[in-house]
């Protein structure tokens, strides 16, 4: 954990879309007593030590709701300005892009350069629904050595197309697409860690634990 438990607060952003209960419950399971707050109020984002953007639904409605609730600016301040650890899940990953192509072209948050477009499943059934393993591409504290052997739960039709530099894990279904991305403090998964049993909870745990801790563990274990 970064800092003392007393100053920590995990804020799960409620923007009218998403399996908020499941996400909050999964964080409660791994947070070791740290408060988990589900909120759609802009002022609550300032109180957060960790921000989570879940999401079930489509890109267009997602951005509309974030704007309507006046959450875009506070997100920019807390995530880009103050560098708070941020985790986007499923639609929460896609909204990080500059542009989304679901139900017409729409501007996203633009935290990660890229474009959200339909998955080219190459004849396989679409949406991509179910459990699949991932390929780890880049070192990140979100995953550990066990992560690449596990299956995670995916349910989506769209994928983020972004520079390979930001891809921490990939998945192949008709084509290879980002299963997880990271840019500094901004992390996101296309799959649902909150619905991926123990393997998914490990990812949430690693997100909360932060980079410093897992780096030193890696350092020790490499000897």
């Amino acid at each position: 954990m970064t800092g003392s438990a007393g100053h920590e607060k995990i804020v799960v952003i409620d923007y009218g879309l998403g399996n908020l209960l499941s996400v909050a419950k999964a964080f409660e399971e791994v947070s070791g007593g740290v408060e988990v707050l589900v909120t759609g109020k802009a002022t609550d984002l300032k109180e957060a030590s960790h921000l989570v953007l879940p999401g079930v639904g489509n890109f267009k409605t997602g951005m509309e709701n974030l704007r309507r609730l006046a959450l875009v600016k506070p997100l920019e301040e807390e995530v880009l300005g103050k560098g708070k650890p941020f985790l986007g899940i499923c639609l929460g990953l896609q909204l990080l892009a500059e542009v989304g192509e679901e139900f017409g072209e729409h501007r996203g948050l633009g935290f990660i350069p890229g474009r959200v477009r339909q998955l080219r499943s190459n004849g396989l059934p679409l949406p991509h629904i179910g459990w699949q393993d991932i390929e780890r591409v880049k070192d990140t504290h979100l995953f550990d050595e066990r992560s690449s052997k596990k299956d995670y739960y995916f349910v989506h039709s769209f994928v983020l197309e972004c520079p390979e530099d930001y891809v921490t894990a990939a998945c192949t279904y008709g084509e290879r697409f980002p299963a997880a991305v990271q840019k500094d403090n901004i992390m996101a998964t296309q799959f649902h860690p909150e619905k991926s049993r123990e393997a998914g909870l490990d990812i949430l745990r690693n997100f909360l634990r932060g980079k410093e801790c897992s780096r030193s563990e890696w350092f020790l274990s490499s000897f």
Partner: protein, 253 residues
């Protein structure tokens, strides 16, 4: 590689879990939450919690069971039965559902499928097709728990619902429900080849080989079953290892 999902189905009526035969002859099968915990521990890839309550109290209990399941299990939960509007679906999602399934309401008001897909995303919108044999031995779409026969054919309806935004089709064989004689593999394969969305198949599983056949012959993306898990000593774990031996990609614990 994407794994084939093994999905136990829980059918609820007025807060109790039941099992039917051909959508009739209700039999009480016990406490739903106990069962949810068992299936979760046994490695189920997803749970389908369907409700056929007639009363408001029954519906409320169903939402409570969804909510409790979502608190205890970190696996996807698909729910259906009482959803007749976008607002009903919103309540189910708020309670903890990951995906919703509509059947009768979709037959009566197909625009509901478009509404659900636009609001909650295609991937989270499932349409259940209750396929039933008519007097001439031809499959047709039925509604109202198999009591009403519709003029639609199963394959054309499957195409229409996927065009309207269903992200997955749950193909349910009314005549085989509870009979444990296997899926109708021919109809399953026909529906699968008629649509581009994944198809989950349900109704009739009596042996683990039926699950394998559903995938290898029926070409289903997911296999659902109730009786075999309720009434025999088979479990999702055993199903996974049997399917793995037969060359079906599954999640192994």
């Amino acid at each position: 590689m994407l794994k084939v999902r093994v999905v136990p189905v829980l059918l609820l009526k007025e807060g109790r879990m039941i099992k039917t035969k051909q959508f009739k002859f209700y039999k009480d099968t016990g406490d739903p939450m106990l069962t949810v915990r068992v299936y979760d521990a046994q490695g189920a890839d997803e749970l389908a919690i369907l409700d056929i309550s007639a009363s408001v109290e029954g519906r409320t209990q169903w939402l409570e069971i969804i909510s409790q399941s979502a608190r205890e299990c970190f696996i996807p939960i698909t729910v259906g039965g009482g959803i007749r509007s976008v607002e009903d679906a919103r309540r189910a999602f708020s309670a903890g559902a990951d995906r919703v399934s509509v059947s009768t309401a979709a037959v009566e008001n197909p625009d509901l499928i478009n509404g659900l897909a636009e609001t909650f995303g295609r991937a989270n919108t499932m349409v259940c097709i209750d396929a039933k044999l008519d007097r001439n031995g031809k499959y047709r779409v039925s509604s109202a728990s198999g009591r009403k026969m519709d003029f639609r054919g199963v394959v054309p309806w499957a195409k229409e619902v996927s065009d309207r935004g269903a992200g997955e089709i749950l193909l349910h064989f009314v005549d085989r429900d509870g009979m444990m004689t296997g899926y109708d593999l021919e109809l399953c394969a026909e529906v699968v080849s008629g649509v581009s969305v994944p198809v989950m198949v349900c109704g009739g599983v009596g042996t683990l080989q039926d699950l394998v056949d559903g995938v290898l012959i029926g070409k289903a993306s997911a296999v659902a079953a109730a009786s075999i898990f309720h009434f025999t000593d088979q479990s999702p774990i055993k199903a996974h290892s049997y399917m793995q031996d037969k060359g079906v990609p599954v999640c192994l614990a």
